[in-house]
Symmetry: C3
Subunit: 136 residues, 3 copies
Amino acid sequence: MPKLALIVASEKIDKLFPAVTLGTTAAVSGWDVEMFFTFWGLLSLKKGFQPSGVSLDYKEYEPRFSEAFASGSIPDWRTVLVQGVSTGKIRIYACSASLGMFGMKQEDLESYVNDIVGAATFLSKAKDSNVSLFIS
Amino acid sequence: MPKLALIVASEKIDKLFPAVTLGTTAAVSGWDVEMFFTFWGLLSLKKGFQPSGVSLDYKEYEPRFSEAFASGSIPDWRTVLVQGVSTGKIRIYACSASLGMFGMKQEDLESYVNDIVGAATFLSKAKDSNVSLFIS
Amino acid sequence: MPKLALIVASEKIDKLFPAVTLGTTAAVSGWDVEMFFTFWGLLSLKKGFQPSGVSLDYKEYEPRFSEAFASGSIPDWRTVLVQGVSTGKIRIYACSASLGMFGMKQEDLESYVNDIVGAATFLSKAKDSNVSLFIS
């Protein structure tokens, strides 16, 4: 099976949405997916987290976005991720160093987080990936 | 031939310029290049599009940039892209979901766009790439 | 040995830090690492450079960051990079076009820069990488 390795380093919705869409699309297509949430991206693994909005560079589009989500014409990012997780093909890792930086603990994380790992472990999992992307 | 797969998710000139430079450099060097324009990146495929400037993080450098472009010491991003396209080695895809999000249609897109595809199709084309990058 | 290819296109500390952490972690784990500093990323190769802060999108976290660095709970980005360089497994390239854009010269660069190259040269070095990432 092909493998996709994603490093997710932002929790802005315009970064998080492409990240989970790529991950879930790959998983549904039969790929193995390894997602490593680090830095600001780690915040999105906190229980009940909601993104803090669109990147400042594209703030002007935020109302259009909110509408699209509210109307259901764009699915919620978490719904997309959970759909991917349900395939059993996605593994989600929280960056251990970032966890410490934000003073977060394992019990603060969503139940779909598979493990807390460092960069070395993630690189070993990404080593044989077909496609690798840093999203921030 | 080696293959480069690029996901372009921004239309800021300091992101778009590296994206087209990498794509065209690879194409001129004989690589096959697959470029998928999604989210804000899709806007740059609109006919006659001009980037909305430099990222806010580096706004202070915008005047220097404008000068460099005006003087010709840096080529125009579209000139770079068209040069790459003329090699016949670059394929340019517009993200179908983003097209809907922006209420754009096929006829709004530049003629060098090869196809409108979803993430699954792009991933299948990127699967055997040597280098894959997410630029945003 | 596996190979990691990084394009570093930002000098904000929340981008630079993940970049050097990934590079050094890979090097310490025995990977070959190729790092290409381009655009705003090139600025971080200037002698004595200090990052201009956290991305605007996450400005609110800057005080926490400064504290973490001051207290030593997060190491300095340059210390991390130099540790990686000392393994002999990292090669650091300054983007020739960006050098010209910023009016910088070879003697302005840190001594750990191995070479000044263009995108074509970097792509040839990244061609057989296991993991490739664009960090900006």
